[in-house]
Amino acid sequence: MPIISIKNLSKVYPSGLRALNNVNLDIESGEIFALLGPNGAGKTTLISIICGIATRSEGSVMVGGHDIDSDYRAARSLIGLVPQELHTDAFETVWATVSFSRGLFGKRKNPAHIEKVLRDLSLWDKKDSQIVTLSGGMKRRVMIAKALSHEPKILFLDEPTAGVDVELRKGMWDVVRELRASGVTIILTTHYIEEAEEMADRVGVIANGELILTEHKAALMQKLGKKQLTLHLQKPLDAIPAQLDAHHLELKADGRDLVYTYDTRGERTGITALMNDLNAAGIRFKDLNTSQSSLEEIFVSLVHREV
């Protein structure tokens, strides 16, 4: 049974803007799901509805088998949310605000757990600081600590690493991996595609309020991935011989590399034909390598095709 089940979900804001259009999505227990999409695609809106911050216009959402309306208590107590915007108190201490969150979610006091969360997020030495005195990246980590304070089964991270420096970002991903290892389901949005590529098990792409694709990351990259075959030539070429035109080759590195782009989705990749033609043209090479396009390239091409 999926831990989150979204059926025919639509959202029309009072302004008349249709932010989500008939979204259907199942999130499996224990996976890391990355939601990608350009600005204004509807990612935050989707998360807000699941978490009870926004109302929905149509459709239904079940969390852990509980309807988010009729059984909101059970549904929400499973969820930890780190929203996109930095919304924090000002004069409370880090310790107080994180403890507050735990109480709000109906959990009895557990200083040992709060301490662990703060240590994991490198916030322990700031525990008695007022939140106003923290930097932006620290505030974001405070929000993550608040979400983890009540030991959620599902964690929503809406652009968690925006404004966090590289080193701490790595630290945060370690925390996320550890959470996943302990069985927490994680749904994250990010504009850093390398993050999704590194972290996610599955990827969903949303554009203009429609979920245009959900796919296992590996499958996605294979299915949509373009591969490039680079041939390092023995003798540099000035131009590509006309008899090779059909292969749409590119000449790179001052004529020393010949690059062939092919689609792994195709029945045939055309590599054999290329080899034969190269041989016929008397072009010899000393080495070759292939490379696959990144998720980012896939993503950009997808969104552009849709929009």
Partner: protein, 253 residues
């Protein structure tokens, strides 16, 4: 019932109170003292007695009510408006808490603070005039009921307001005038008959009258009526709050 959540909200709100304790207490104490100096000295020298009690003693319940109403509204409206304003409301909305629990937390804290202030004003008044409380039980009853009712009312204002002006406008344009015209500083028997009738449409009259009765058994309207009207207003506020949560009005996007 999510008791931990109620406690968390209540504690959070009260810690805001303790942080600003000095200004929360100093200003009402000073203004109460000023009222005594101005009203007590200036008017008291002309009106020496109302229905058998000295003018100074007469106005004590009204003064407390005045602070109780304004403070309850201000505390509760700010308490819920502020998280909306800075965005921290997201956490309240996403937590497994029922509307009733949210209201108990916020309104409970706001009412607690204004009750404390009411008692401080009472003590301050004791420094200026002799006090006698004929019905302590009823006195506390009216104090608590009024604080809760007007904290609920303030909560509604805080939800409705989407800017700071709106937060101020109802207390300023409606509540303060009604309080001043509600018999805080005079007995409505002193008004011309037409105005006596008109005044009966002012809900504050019932609160002040009942509260004053618990001190000195002087009342403009029977105490039962006062009590009934207080409960009625409480019920109206409760219904409004439940409706707000049912519809998500101005809380959810």
């Amino acid at each position: 019932m999510n008791i931990h959540a109620i406690k968390a909200i209540y504690k959070f709100e009260m810690s805001r109170t303790w942080r600003t304790l000095l200004q929360s207490i100093v200003s009402p104490v000073i203004s109460t003292s000023l009222y005594f100096v101005v009203f007590g000295a200036a008017i008291g020298s002309r009106i020496t007695e109302i229905e058998g009690v000295s003018y100074g003693t007469f106005i004590v319940p009204g003064l407390i009510m005045l602070s109780l109403l304004t403070q309850s509204i201000a505390n509760a409206s700010f308490g819920i408006y502020f998280p909306k304003f800075v965005g921290t409301i997201y956490e309240i909305l996403s937590a497994p808490i029922s509307p009733l629990e949210i209201v108990i937390g916020y309104v409970g804290a706001a009412a607690t603070k204004s009750i404390i202030l009411g008692l401080i004003i009472l003590a301050t008044a004791g420094l200026f005039v002799p006090l006698k409380i004929a019905h302590p039980f009823w006195m506390i009853g009216f104090l608590v009921l009024t604080a809760v009712t007007f904290s609920l009312f303030g909560f509604i204002i805080g939800v409705w307001a989407d800017n700071f002006e709106k937060l101020q406008v109802i207390p300023l344009l409606i509540v303060t005038p009604l309080t001043f015209l509600g018999g805080s500083f005079y007995s409505i028997n002193m008004l011309p008959p037409v105005w006596q009738t008109i005044t009966l449409f002012n809900p504050v009259v019932y609160l002040v009258s009942g509260f004053r009765w618990s001190f000195s058994e002087i009342a403009d309207v029977p105490v039962g009526v006062s009590f009934g009207m207080t409960l009625l207003f409480l019920a109206l506020c409760l219904i409004a709050v439940l409706w707000i949560f049912k519809t998500g009005y101005r809380l959810k996007k």
